[in-house]
């Protein structure tokens, strides 16, 4: 009977001058390559709006996706701000969505090498879901929260700092300190929400496939597809809401 292989940290495949390249990094590169290919295909086959449109062309699918997500973002923050925030939010959403789904494809996690790890030979998968690695989700979370601060400073200037250092009242001071800590706890929360959901899904699929390989993994694969969408949506939407909260000036709060 083969062993069930679960490892909470991504395993290094090779090292470039002392820097370990892990299998989840390889999958991230794969996701990026996929997006670049998509962009190239769309830019080469796009028909200008003066030509008559084909029904159900690839261009119309892409336009529909982007536009419906833009309407969603507009519904949350309003048309003026949606124009500014949409590139970041849409990138986060689509990147995390494809990275989550890539972990479900056959071959990710099953094709690998036999490598000696800590004096015994174990099976090391060549690819691993990109978001099933804490490092990836931590990086995404740090990007999100840094962009929140960036937009806060851009919209409110130095007045943004009065959110954290509020000397108007004693209560305000403690709320300001709490807000400061909560910015850091949001990073942790983002990281572990995405990592926990996707990694737990991978563990679940591994265990089910190990126990009952025929037909039983099907509903769990469906669940994982759904969870991938929801987690990508939640990450992007929470980032959007935090940016919105950081950029409203105090006069227009109510």
């Amino acid at each position: 009977m083969s062993q069930l292989h679960i490892s909470i940290s991504a395993e290094p495949i090779f090292s470039l001058g002392g820097f370990n390249i892990t299998n989840s990094m390889l999958t991230s590169v794969l996701v990026t390559v996929l997006f670049i290919l998509l962009i190239l295909i769309v830019s080469k086959t796009t028909r200008k709006s003066t030509k008559p449109p084909k029904k159900y062309s690839f261009q119309s699918i892409v336009e529909f996706t982007i536009e419906s997500f833009y309407e969603f973002v507009k519904g949350v923050v309003g048309p003026v701000k949606a124009r500014v925030f949409f590139p970041l939010i849409a990138t986060l959403f689509f990147y995390i969505l494809v990275a989550n789904w890539m972990g479900l494809l056959p071959g990710i996690g099953s094709i690998g090498l036999i490598k000696p790890v800590e004096a015994e030979s174990t099976f090391v998968p060549l690819f691993r879901g990109a978001t099933a690695d804490i490092n990836t989700t931590l990086a995404l979370a740090v990007i999100s929260m840094v962009m929140v601060q960036f937009y806060g400073f851009r919209y409110l200037g130095l007045h943004y700092l009065t959110k954290f250092f509020n000397f108007k009242s004693v209560m305000g001071f403690f709320i300001g300190i709490l807000e400061l800590f909560s910015e850091f706890s949001k990073i942790i929360s983002f990281t572990f929400r995405l990592f926990g959901n996707i990694f737990a899904g991978e563990v679940l699929l591994s265990v089910i496939a190990f126990l009952v390989p025929i037909f039983a993994p099907l509903p769990f694969l469906g669940l994982e597809v759904f969870v991938g969408v929801i987690q990508a949506l939640v990450f992007a939407m929470l980032t959007l809401v935090f940016i919105n909260m950081a950029t409203i000036s105090h006069e227009e709060e109510y």
Partner: protein, 71 residues
């Protein structure tokens, strides 16, 4: 105390609070939806947001259980 016992207990107890919380959130959201069907979009968006926050706690306890189990 066996390790597996502790792991199981971690996720079992850690999942109770978030399950209750999500149930309450969705219940109140449905109530609000019944009172004011026009605000469906806003209610839904805020409900999903609230559910994400509540579920994050369950995910924390799951991650702790996985860490205890596999290291």
């Amino acid at each position: 105390m066996d390790t597996n016992f502790v792991v199981g207990l971690t996720i079992a107890i850690g999942g109770m609070g978030p399950a209750l919380a999500i149930g309450l959130i969705v219940g109140r959201a449905l109530e609000a939806l019944g009172r004011n069907p026009e605000a469906a979009g806003k209610i839904q968006t805020n409900m999903i947001l609230g559910i994400a926050f509540a579920e994050a706690i369950a995910i924390y306890s799951l991650v702790v259980a996985l860490i205890i189990k596999f290291t």
